[in-house]
C-alpha cells in the first residue's frame, strides 16, 4: 500500500550529461505530488529515476539515494524489475499494447507476476481495475477488442487500469493528460482524486491549473541555462506555491513572467 519516498542528493546523468542535480525531497503517501517547470528541466528524467526506468536507456545512470519506506531502491541487492513492480508508471502518450485485447492489457502486469490465475479471478480483477479507472462502463461490452481501438482518453485510462491492477505502492504519471481533450482530462483528474486514497501519486504536468487543482504538494523544477542541469528550486504545499512561493523564480514561472 501507499508508501513514502525519500530522495536525497540525487544526480541524474545521460552519459556524461548531468540532466538533474542535487534533488532532496520527501514524497508523502496517500497524496498527490505535482512536479512543474519549463520543458527540458528534468521533470521526466527525475520521475523515471524513481522507478528505475531511467537506466533502461544506454549510458543513463543515477547518483544519490531513493528510499521507499526504508528500502534503498538503488541498493546493490535490489532488482530494478521488482522496483518497477512496486512503482507503476503512466506515460505521456497512451501506450496500451496494440497486439493485446483490452482485457489482456489490464492484466498484462499480473500475468508477469504469476501465470496461474483462475479465469474467475482475472475477470474480477479486470472489472475492478477498469472500474477503478472509470472505464468499465465504456468498454465492458468489448473487452476482447484491441486496446488501440479506444479513443486517446480511454486508452490513457486503460493504461491507468493496467498500472493499478498490480496494486503498486506508488503511481508515477508523466504528463498523463497532455495528449487528451479537456473532458478526458477532467475524467482523469477525478480519477486521481479517488486513487490517492490508495496510492502515493506523483504527477508531472505542464498545466499549472491542473497542479493547483489536484495536488497537495508541488515541486518546481528549473534550470539556469541550456546545457545546465535541472534543479528542484522549491518544494512546498501547493497552496503556498500558488499564493506565496518562497522563491522569486517560482513566482515568475507561475505568474507567466518566465524567461
Amino acid at each position: 500500500m501507499a508508501k513514502r519516498i525519500e530522495v536525497s542528493d540525487l544526480n541524474i546523468f545521460y552519459g556524461n550529461f548531468k540532466a538533474v542535480e542535487g534533488v532532496n525531497v520527501s514524497i508523502e503517501p496517500r497524496s498527490i505530488t505535482a512536479l512543474i517547470g519549463p520543458s527540458g528541466c528534468g521533470k521526466s528524467t527525475f520521475l523515471r529515476s524513481l522507478n528505475r526506468m531511467h537506466e533502461v536507456l544506454p549510458g543513463a545512470r543515477v547518483e544519490g539515494k531513493v528510499v521507499m519506506d526504508g528500502q534503498d531502491l538503488y541498493g546493490s541487492d535490489v532488482d530494478p524489475v521488482n522496483v518497477r513492480r512496486q512503482i507503476g508508471m503512466v506515460f505521456q502518450r497512451p501506450n496500451p499494447f496494440p497486439t493485446m485485447s483490452i482485457y489482456d492489457n489490464v492484466i498484462a502486469g499480473n500475468r508477469l507476476n504469476n501465470n496461474r490465475m483462475k479465469k474467475s479471478d482475472t475477470d474480477d480483477l479486470v472489472e475492478k481495475s477498469l472500474k477503478g479507472a472509470n472505464l468499465w462502463n465504456e468498454v465492458k461490452d468489448r473487452l476482447d477488442r484491441p486496446g488501440s481501438s479506444l479513443s486517446g482518453g480511454q486508452q490513457q485510462r486503460l493504461c491507468i487500469a493496467r498500472a493499478i491492477a498490480v496494486e503498486p505502492d506508488v503511481l508515477l504519471m508523466d504528463e498523463p493528460c497532455s495528449a487528451l481533450d479537456p473532458i478526458s482530462t477532467l475524467a482523469i483528474e477525478d480519477l486521481m482524486a479517488e486513487l490517492k486514497e490508495r496510492f502515493t501519486i506523483v504527477i508531472v504536468t505542464h498545466n499549472m491549473q491542473q497542479a493547483a487543482r489536484v495536488s497537495e504538494q508541488t515541486g518546481f523544477f528549473n534550470l539556469n541555462g541550456v546545457g545546465q542541469p535541472g534543479r528542484l528550486i522549491e518544494f512546498n504545499p501547493t497552496e503556498k506555491i500558488f499564493s506565496n512561493p518562497d522563491q522569486k523564480a517560482t513566482e515568475d514561472y507561475i505568474s507567466g513572467r518566465f524567461g
Binding site: 533502461v56 518497477r84 499494447f97 498484462a108 502486469g109 493496467r162
Partner: protein
Amino acid sequence: MTATKAPSEPPQQRAVRRPGDRIFAGSAQGSGIFILLVLAGVAAFLISEAIPALTAPAEDIPGGEGLASYIGPLVVGTLLGAVLALLIATPLAVGIALYITYYAPRRIAATMGYVIDLLAAIPSVVYGFWGLAVMAPTLVPFHLWAADNLGFIPFFAGPASTSGRTMFTVGLVLAVMILPIISAIAREVFSQAPALHREAALALGATRWEMIKMAVLPYGRSGVIAGAMLGLGRALGETMAVAIVLSGGAGATVNLISNSSPSTIASNIALRFPEATGLGVNTLIASGLVLFLITLLVNMLARWVVNRRADFSGAN
C-alpha cells in the same frame, strides 16, 4: 461528354492536380501495371507450354506412367526440403535477430549483422559444393544414428545413406541459405518495435525476455512471417545447391535420410532441361507450373495468417 446534360446538375468540379503529383501517380501506377503484366505473361507462357503435357496420353510422358506420377515425387521432394529448411532456419533467424537487436553489445551486434548479410551474398553453387564436400560427409554419423534411434518416425526410416547426399542434408544447406533473408527482415522489424510499448512492458516490471514477449515478438510477427515466406520462396526455387547435393531417387518418399529421396522440381528442371525434347520439355514446364502454383498458394496462406489478426497488428 454529351451536350444533353440536365441543367440542374452542377458543373463538374475538377480538383486541381499538380504536375509532380500526376507524374508520380502515373509512374507508380505504371510500375504496378507492369508487374501484373509480367506475372500474367509468365503464367500464360507456363500454361500454354504445359498444355501438351497435360493432354498427352500417360505412356508418352517421361517415365511412362503419366504426368501425376512424374511430378508427384518432385512435389514431395520440393516441399520436404523447403519445409525442413524453414523449420530449422526460422527459429534460428528469430533468435539471431533478437540477440542482435536486444542482447548483444553494440559492436558485436554490428559485426554479426554484417557477417549474416554476407551469407546472403554467397552464390548457391558455392553452397552446393560446400554441402557436397563438407556437410554431407559430416552428417553421415547423424544419418546412421537417426536410422537406429528414430527409425520409427517415417522421416527417419532407414536404410540410412552412407554418402549423406540426402534430403536431410539438402534441408540443412537450404536452411543456411535462407537464414540471412529471414534474420535480416526479423532484425529490421524487431528493431522497430516502438519504444513506447517496450517501456510500457518494462514499467510493469517485465524482465527483458518478458518485454520481448509482450512488445517485440507480437509486433514483429507479421514481419517474421513475411521474411519466412521470402525464405521459403528461395528454398522452393533453389536449383544448383539441391542438384549438386542430392543423389536423387525417384520414389515419392518422405524419408529424409535414405538415398531414395526424390529430387525437387527446380533442380529436376535444371538437370533435365538441356537434354529434353518434344513432350519432355512440356512435361518439365508443367512441373514448373506446379511449382509456380505452390509458391502462389504458400504466399496466399501467409497473407491470410497475417491478416487474420490485422486489428491487433499494432499498425494503427
